[in-house]
């Protein structure tokens, strides 16, 4: 009996537990410091390299020789220590872990705050920093305080042009940027059961924007089927009676397309309130909305037309890119005038390609619009893919049509 977090962490809310970690991953950004901390801890011993992943996604390919040198060092270490390694172009760490690696009931730790994305599979997945990760490399274990859980009850289905992203921004605005600090979000109810895996990943992805430690869906038939295509046989998780610290209801038919206004993810307004606002760049991608279904949705809108502003599309992974090529989605995007980037984080963190200039406005499908994140003096508005597509065609924020 208990919340999903209590069941997976095997403890009661508020209790401190030591846990074996089932999978742990770093990227090119946090991996460098992890390696340094691990060496400083004595540099002896790697626990279970088969379950430790090093996935290059943040600045790929390297933007200058300093980055390249740091990446070289980490790459050499990952390969010589037999860690699971994905080089540039493989894709965003969270996306790769979602492509048939993370399984229900696992404890997954990533040295990146959006590790919570993987709660979509009924795993307990959370982010840590580099030094915590170094200790996991060394010991295979870490500690947690079992979080309180907030029950987010979903009913009905999304209608019109509303997407899971709109629901995600809506719940972030309802909870606020620290509304779920140290807690876990559990998405439950018949409305949750109807959301496909891609939407679940998007919803869990934004959990950390409320301060949450994890965002989770119960593994159900949809999860079992998704993982079966990746060759895994898993069991669904049956919800049990449990105590939530707080319960929130959303009627999905009430969700409308929304936008998060800079510089806060929880300042959320209907797209209609911002219609007509000029944008200089549209960015489609990231661990929030860079999946095949996102690219395909964007392509459906822009196919046969031309985007009116510079538009950068970055597939979340090589598998996404391959599928977009095979199904003609990529051709539609390129013909519409979009620029395509190497699978990875792309401009999301403002470190390379697609950096904004002073006073420029970007409409992005990502999860963060902090001040200066994509470039000093640039402003980031966050939206769904459908809103981004409609806006790219007009060069200004535009309500998506029903497609």
């Amino acid at each position: 009996m208990g919340t999903l977090s209590e069941r997976i962490l095997n403890g009661s809310t508020g209790e401190y537990v030591d846990c074996c970690v089932d999978r742990a991953y770093v990227h090119d950004g946090t991996g460098v410091l992890t390696l340094e901390a691990w060496k400083n801890m004595g540099g002896r011993g790697i626990q279970d390299a088969a379950h430790l992943y090093v996935l290059f996604d943040h600045i790929v390919p390297a933007n200058n020789s300093t980055t390249a040198t740091l990446q070289h060092e980490l790459r050499e270490f990952a390969c010589s220590s037999f860690l699971q390694f994905s080089d540039i172009g493989g894709g965003i760490c969270h996306q790769l872990m979602s492509e048939g690696i993370v399984l229900p009931d696992e404890i997954v730790v990533g040295a990146d705050s959006h590790t919570c994305t993987l709660g979509a599979f009924g795993a307990f997945a959370t982010g840590v920093g580099a030094t915590d990760m170094a200790a996991i490399w060394k010991t295979g274990e870490t500690w947690f305080r079992v979080p309180e859980s907030i029950g987010i009850h979903l009913s009905g289905t999304l209608t019109g042009s509303a997407e899971a992203k709109d629901l995600a921004l809506t719940y972030v605005s309802r909870l606020g940027m620290d509304g779920a600090s140290y807690q876990s979000l559990e998405f439950v109810g018949e409305g949750a059961a109807a959301i496909p895996i891609d939407g679940r990943l998007t919803l869990c992805n934004l959990a950390v924007e409320t301060g949450a430690k994890a965002g989770m869906f119960y593994a159900d038939d949809i999860t079992v089927q998704y993982l079966a295509t990746a060759g895994h046989t898993v069991q669904a998780q049956e919800p049990e009676p449990c105590t939530y610290i707080r319960e929130i209801d959303f009627d999905l038919p009430d969700i409308v397309p929304v936008i998060a206004v800079p510089p806060r993810v929880d300042t959320v307004k209907p797209v209609s309130d911002l219609a007509g606002l000029h944008v200089d760049q549209v960015f489609v991608g990231t661990c929030t909305n860079g999946r095949y279904s996102d690219l395909a949705r964007f392509a459906r809108v822009v196919k046969g037309r031309k985007v009116a502003v510079r538009t950068i599309v970055v597939p979340a992974s090589r598998a996404v890119l391959e599928k977009a090529i095979r199904n003609g989605v990529l051709m539609d995007l390129v013909e519409a005038g979009c620029s395509i980037g190497t699978p990875g984080c792309g401009p999301c963190l403002g470190a390379h390609m697609g950096v904004l200039g002073e006073g420029e406005v970007c409409l992005s499908t990502a999860n963060r619009n902090f001040r200066n994140r994509m470039g000093v003096g640039g402003e980031i508005y966050l939206s769904s893919v459908a809103t981004a597509a409609a806006s790219a065609l007009e060069g200004e924020i535009t309500e998506p049509g029903v497609s």
């Binding site: 200058n64 705050s113 840590v128 060394k138 301060g211 470190a351 001040r371």
Partner: protein, 156 residues
């Protein structure tokens, strides 16, 4: 564990992009982080951090898991950070690298002395003593060792 410093006041919801921007992360050179800490919040802040106790609003350190944020603050000479609440990844990172965090709501008066005792669980500012939320036993142990690296050096 006792300490003291001069108050430096900052607002609520300070995210780690504001502590140290993404464009300065690709290095192991700590002097770069020290030079640019809080640059996008207030470029004059970095020069006032040596010997400071940062007194912040709620949810300090939200956003990215970048440990450089906690390291930059510590390396700039900050003695401790006091805030009503911290984002959880930042909280763990700070303790892991040996930067004391104090969960407490206090009034901040720029430049005035702030003293604290982590073991006894209090912080004092402007002649007022506040009791603070205690750290867990594990966190006290890590902090006492000077961070998780040292902890594992001695336990590993």
């Amino acid at each position: 564990m006792q300490g003291k410093g001069r108050a430096v006041c900052v607002g609520a919801d300070i995210d780690t992009d504001l502590v140290i921007a993404g464009r300065y992360l690709r290095t192991k050179d700590r002097s770069i982080w020290i030079a640019h800490v809080f640059e996008d919040l207030d470029p004059s802040l970095a020069s006032r951090l040596n010997g400071a106790v940062i007194v912040a609003g709620k949810n300090f350190g939200c956003g990215s898991s970048r440990e450089q944020a906690a390291i930059a603050i510590r390396e700039a000479g900050v003695v401790a950070v006091v805030a009503p609440s911290f984002a959880r990844i930042f909280f763990r990172n700070a303790i892991n690298i040996g930067l004391p965090l104090i969960e407490c709501t206090i009034t901040c008066n720029e430049g005035s002395p702030v003293t604290f005792d982590l073991t006894e669980g209090w912080v004092e500012a402007e002649g007022k003593k506040y009791s603070t939320r205690p750290l867990s036993a594990k966190m006290r142990e890590i902090l006492a060792a000077g961070g998780l690296v040292n902890y594992w050096r001695t336990h590993g």
